[in-house]
């Protein structure tokens, strides 16, 4: 078991002929993901290295019975591609694109609240259920099949933490990159219930960072609704306030979402917060003993 994606995932790639799309479609396929179609407006009927291309996501879903999509299109048209995937009735949509205007994300979120689609991202490395399906741009050698669920706001830190876990023999059920943007399709608080319900996930690692109040809300949610073991790591203890640090999300504003408030929120409900990335592995080994 796993969450959202597994060996039954039938993936379409929106923007499969672009520079990023073609490169990563090839890699995802090599890594064992079942890509059933590509979507490129105007190129319907052609194919990409044996993968059939359709003009629209709806056609691709209907003809190929797709249940997931990954989006590699430029930021100016990315929100339209997301809307298209939602309209096509695709269950899981991963948007890799970085740089979508935040006002467009406000509209997407409004739309998502009325639909059953899971949007992962934007501005994410994607998600992976090791050895079953990769919907993303990560290199698979850092990951291994196992029982730890990881949800993270940072791509690069995911490698650091997953690799340490993998080397210690602790594999992962599913690893989800929530993305670095201010407004995201899926937050910790949305994804945690899925991990909580997944019998194959025994422990959940949350990799957060400063900004927003998602970690604080999630801590409260876990206290009230969850029974599994959780570990948190938070980046940004040394970031100056009101400075944007690469991720649009990582900005401490109006006195909220500080490092301190997040650590306190987790510790108050008994969730250990790792001081260094490598401590995640140490705590996990202890908790799983």
């Amino acid at each position: 078991m796993s969450i959202l994606v597994d060996k039954n995932t039938r993936l379409i790639v929106q923007g499969i002929t672009g520079r990023q799309g073609s490169f990563h479609a090839r890699r995802m396929k090599q890594d064992g993901t079942n890509i059933v179609a590509g979507v490129v407006p105007g190129k319907g009927g052609q194919d990409f290295e044996g993968i059939e291309i359709f003009d629209t996501a709806l056609e691709a879903r209907l003809v190929k019975d797709a249940n997931a999509s990954i989006i590699f299109v430029p930021p100016k048209i990315a929100s339209e591609s997301i809307t298209e995937a939602i309209d096509a009735g695709i269950k899981v949509v991963v948007c890799i694109t970085d740089g979508i205007p935040v006002h467009e994300m406000i509209e997407i979120k409004e739309r998502l609240s009325k639909e059953e689609t899971w949007l992962i991202g934007p501005n994410t490395p994607g998600m992976i259920t090791p050895e079953e399906a990769k919907l993303g741009i990560m290199a698979i050698h850092a990951f291994k099949r196992g029982h730890i669920g990881i949800a993270t706001r940072s791509g690069s830190l995911t490698y650091e933490i997953a690799y340490e876990l993998t080397r210690a023999g602790l594999g992962q059920s599913t690893v989800v990159g929530l993305g670095g943007d201010y407004i995201k399709g899926t937050d910790f608080i949305d994804i945690i219930p899925l991990f909580e319900k997944d019998p194959d996930t025994h422990l959940i690692v949350m990799v957060g960072e400063i900004g927003g109040t998602d970690e604080e809300r999630t801590a409260k949610y876990i206290k009230e609704h969850c029974s599994k073991a959780y570990i948190a790591y938070l980046a940004g203890s040394s970031a100056p306030p009101d400075q944007q640090m690469g991720h649009a999300g990582a900005i401490v504003s109006q006195g909220r979402g500080t490092f301190k408030s997040k650590v306190e929120a987790f510790e108050k409900v008994g969730i250990p917060v790792a001081k260094y990335p490598r401590e995640v592995k140490d705590i996990a080994l202890r908790l799983l003993k």
């Binding site: 930021p75 205007p101 940072s154 960072e209």
Partner: protein, 378 residues
């Protein structure tokens, strides 16, 4: 993209939000002119144009009552830094007789994923301070983007904040226009603080803030001039070249890949007793040019005594990183600062070989590398 007060006021004025008469000045002749026309030869307010809050407390706002005083005050403001930022323009305005100060702001609430309207009867201080010291004086309303800000919500807020009903029509008008600006400009923040009620009962935007979403700048050809200015800003320039950079000010210069990883590295440097000099993320483009730019930028920072390179590559190949680093280093030549390098991930063995061939020892352990960089920088 943050707009200066005078730029934001221009757009507020164009959208019929009342603003004081004013002129932005960068020369002596201009301020003299402003004293005569804007101040009617009697009195003016001089406001340093810097993109930082708490300007008044830092001595960035002054009043002058004669032409000589105006010129000398102007020179004084230009020679002074506000929280480390230089001043090149001064906004000279008529002085408003203020009876009451309010706060109105619209920003995005990441929790609700919607716009949020903030209102307060205690204008003139920073909204963070209001939120902390008198939270009951701060009214927050999550806006449904379908309907905008309805008048009855503003009236309700006025009731809760004990704001006199006499100004309700004006306040509703200002807030609706502010919301229109917020949407029309793809803003992440629009703010009037203070929104003053003058002695004759008129509302007027004494200060103005407008921050625009960098990701949406392409939608705004009307901001071409401002965008040009913004692009000349050092951090924007670097970002365009694949180096995401923020100056922080310590002794250990960082070159990392990935925003989260860069932040975590900064945290580690701090935890081990050093001070990171910058946030510097080169993941957007690993090549000799961007690497050279990153190294040069780090070298140009005051107080940097050591450099720490830390990357964990998924798709970024470490042999490419090593090649780029070596080429950039050789190109710059003659660097005396010590460097600690830790690379991990795809093709790291080849990366290590290349580094070693050129005399760079590489750490396998992140924590040893950070410790070394901190020791070297001490």
């Amino acid at each position: 993209m943050k707009l200066y007060e005078y730029q934001a006021k221009k757009y507020f004025g164009e959208n019929q939000i009342p603003i004081p008469n004013g002129m932005v000045c960068s020369t002596e002749n201009e301020v003299k002119d402003a004293f005569t026309h804007v101040g009617k030869g009697k009195e003016v307010v001089l406001k340093s144009q810097v993109l930082v809050g708490g300007r008044g407390k830092s001595g960035g706002i002054k009043i002058a009552k004669s032409i000589e005083e105006t010129v000398s005050t102007f020179k004084g403001l230009l020679s002074q830094k506000i929280k480390g930022l230089p001043v090149s323009k001064v906004l000279v305005e008529e002085k408003i007789e203020i009876k009451c100060e309010y706060y109105v702001g619209i920003t995005i609430d990441p929790t609700a994923s919607k716009p949020i309207l903030l209102m307060s009867s205690k204008g003139g201080m920073e909204v963070e301070t209001i939120a902390k010291e008198s939270p009951s004086a701060l009214y927050q309303y999550i806006v449904n983007p379908r309907y905008g800000v309805p008048s009855y919500q503003i009236l309700k807020a006025m009731g809760e904040l004990n704001i006199s009903r006499g100004i309700s029509n004006q306040l509703i008008d200002v807030i609706k226009k502010l919301y229109k600006i917020f949407c029309g400009f793809d803003a992440t923040l629009t703010e009037i603080n203070p929104l003053a009620e003058s002695s004759n009962g008129k509302l007027i935007a004494v200060d103005a803030r407008l921050n625009i979403d960098n990701n949406a700048l392409f939608k705004h050809p009307e901001l071409e001039e401002l965008k040009k200015e913004f692009a000349e800003n050092k951090e924007t320039y670097l970002k365009g070249k694949g180096v995401d950079f923020v100056y922080v000010g310590g002794n250990v210069g960082l070159i990392c890949a990935g925003a989260g990883m860069t932040m975590a590295t900064m945290d580690l440097v701090n935890a081990m007793g050093g001070k990171p000099a910058c946030f510097c993320d080169v993941s957007a483009g690993i090549n000799p040019q961007s690497m050279e730019l990153a190294i040069k930028t780090v070298l140009s920072l005051n107080g940097v005594k050591s450099i720490l390179v830390n990357m964990f590559g998924g798709l970024t190949r470490m042999d490419e990183v090593a090649k780029s680093f070596v080429a950039a280093w050789q190109n710059i030549g003659g660097i005396s600062l010590p460097v600690a390098i830790r690379l991990e991930g795809t093709n790291v063995e080849e990366g290590r070989r290349i580094m070693k061939e050129h005399g760079f020892e590489m750490f396998t352990n992140l924590y040893d590398a950070v410790k070394k960089a901190v020791d070297l920088g001490a």
